[in-house]
Amino acid sequence: MVYLDGTITRTFEGRRWTVPARVFAQPLEFYEGMGLSQEAFLIELDRLGYSPHRSGEYPGTYHIGPRSVVVTLRPFRFPDGHRAAQTVSVRFRGDRLSRLLSAGPTGPVRLEPAVIGSFFPSHGEDRLIVEPENTPHLLTETLIAVEDRNFQSHWGFDIGGILRALMVNVAEGKVRQGGSTLTQQLVKSYFLDNRRTFIRKFRELIMAIILERQFEKEELLNAYINEIFLGQNGHRAIHGFGLGSQFYFGRPLEELGTEEIALLVAIVRGPTYYNPYRYPERAQARRDRVLNTMRAYDLIDDATVRAALANPIQLATSRAGGRYYPAFMDLVRRELSRDFDSDDLADNGYRIFTTLKPYLQDAAQTATLRTLGKLERERNLPTKTLEAAVIIRHSQTGDVHAVVGGRTRGSQGFNRALDARRQVGSLLKPVVALSALESGHYHLASSVDDAPIVLPDFNNWTPLNFDGQFRGPVPLIRVLSDSLNVATVRVGMDVGVAKVANRITNLTGKPIAHPFPSLFLGALDLTPFEVSELYAAFASGGFLTPGRSVVVVLDDRAATLSRYAIDVKQIFSPDNAAAMTRALQVAMQRGTGRSSQFRSTGIAGKTGSSDNYRDSWVAVFDANLLTIAWIGKDDNGAHGLSGSRGALRLWDLLAQDLDIQSALVPGLSNELAWTWIDYQTGNETTEQCPNAVNVPLPRSVDLPSKIECARGSSRRRSKIP
């Protein structure tokens, strides 16, 4: 007894719940002038479990008025400080936020970030700790009324309760009531297993008495509220009312209504039996019984109980607490594994702030599913033949906003975005062009002979163009834009395979042991994430911008454990960055990306496909976002889709949800000037000519003139078309 006393007291005093690290998306910041429609704003509020209210003055509620939306933001502890509950009034005009009134500080306002996942320990316990001051009084009173009406007066067990339960159970011929007090239930959950033996029951009784002797009622009640099991979601065990509230209703505990509190208390009796997702009628019947008990104990009045009984059970559709993105979480886990071991992440209540943008992730997943389904139907492929991966990241900061690891939404299967190494095909051609520019022997109008070539030192390799045709002399920009294989090999051989290989290694961090000329045409296996690292340099104006998914990790007291800062490193000159971005814009406008409906928006990018059309790729960027998409088969079989017929269509569908901006073209140094050239020949021309493209060229270059269109010199600084 003395031993038990000491052990229990010590354990309980030093109690520390297993609190998994909680992972947050990037918060939505909104401000006057921002491109944001009222509809999109309401979707974001809905995603966070905000509910309509007649005034919108309570945290977690909003009111749609005739001219504006009034919303009261919940208090939240951001990494850079605590934000108290804040009421703001937002007005929209078309797709723009036109007016933002706030009682708080001026400037952008943040919604609290959505919870996108947790790192559970192996036993799967997940919980959100609730402090007594954040626990609704109605919840504690209802718990006591329903589960242990003599809680405030008993010593850990309740003879009256046991006898009453015995009588009910005997009268009904089955177990309808339990006689355990809240303290006994707590002991059972905290210290004991589920075996129904007399010895276990006896230990439960003794331990409950010890706890009651050593601790205040309020402490025991708070422990119960955080400890009790409330449901199962796959491998994840939902413990405590804090997480229970998020899991079932998508809202914090303090925002729950009467009928919702009643349902949570109803579930306590049997989380599986009364699972409201699986057995809604059974759960509702039990909830209604709880509501009647609440009325019987004067916890609510007649009008409230009538209103509550009339409400059907309404559960969170996304099982908030939440909406899980396993492919993105996989990236987060890998990044954190450099600094944290898995036990730390599973136990210590860390808060991890990430770069995920839920609306982009959802848009990418939807576009993936719809595109794959459509392609399979069009090509008469069996359903679920094709797979895909998508990475969306910020062009300038490297923030990874979305990761799609496959077509199965929410499944933690093979993460193709991070692990599928596939041949990248023409996606490597920009590196050949960059190497050529850096050699100093080429510019975008340099003439390259697209004529048969044989490489005697490489087994008489004879590359061919995709259509078997040869085009004769063409400018370098067209070699890249039209993805001409033979001319690319000619340029690559002139620059040197080692130089091109080195550049690929610089950009991807991937060493290439034995580079061969086939590298020029993309005979290299990379993951979509590695491709995104490569294209990040082009998208950011010549800076290595490592992708990252984690911004900061805080401990349970909000102290910073690790911060992952923006990191950039210039890897090629702004002039070459400008030339490459322009070339990739032309590739989307006139080259292999021209089937995109966004071809004229200034997007830049490149399509790619591997031998026999086993892999369909696209890399596209604008000023803000870089997207890599891959489509293929898991067995590496042919599917007949080129980059433009497969992955580009996926991007096009995704882009309908994006606010596309022209890609960033760095300003030119004094050594370069914007020049109109003929796309077919590379000759100088004028803006009015049908094949005119405006490109940065060295001022020292003297181009042959295309007489019929050349009305005066066009060698001037001009705006980008």
Binding site: H394, A565, V568, D659, Q661
Partner: protein, 144 residues
């Protein structure tokens, strides 16, 4: 510290001179900025930048960097923010990062305003002990 003080005076005085129009996301990102540094400062992030400046002045560089990163997420093509980030790094002797952030700032700044970025790059190179590179940057870009 003296260098930082000079910069802050420069930034404060310049920052006060302009009333930026109400920004929009598309306006702030549609194309490279063509105006001067302080003409194009976007009000979206102005408050954050202003707070970051205050923090740097109080030697609270770590928190200032957090705020500047937040400002960058709102307005990633604001050369001024990249430059202030570079200066914050410089003030805590993060010379490599300071140089790279200033180089990034150059992408978004007008020719006139690039001078301050080149000065920061030269100072960062000095800090790393690369006096020759610093001197050549100063000569090439006419930085005093």
């Amino acid at each position: 510290m003296a260098r930082l003080t000079v910069l802050l005076i420069f930034l404060f005085s310049a920052g006060c001179a302009v009333k930026a129009p109400a920004p929009s996301e598309s306006q702030s990102t549609a194309k490279p900025k063509s105006g001067g540094l302080f003409e194009t400062t976007n009000t979206v992030s102005t408050n954050l930048i202003s707070n970051a400046r205050d923090m740097i002045a109080k030697d609270n560089v770590v928190d200032a960097i957090v705020l500047l990163e937040r400002a960058l997420r709102l307005d990633p093509q604001n050369g001024y923010t990249w430059l202030l980030l570079a200066e914050a790094e410089l003030s805590r002797m993060g010379f490599i990062r300071a140089e790279q952030f200033a180089r990034k700032a150059v992408l978004f700044l007008s020719k006139m305003d690039q001078i301050q970025a080149w000065r920061t790059i030269a100072n960062a190179l000095d800090g790393r002990g690369d006096k020759n590179a610093a001197r050549s940057i100063r000569e090439l870009h006419n930085v005093r």
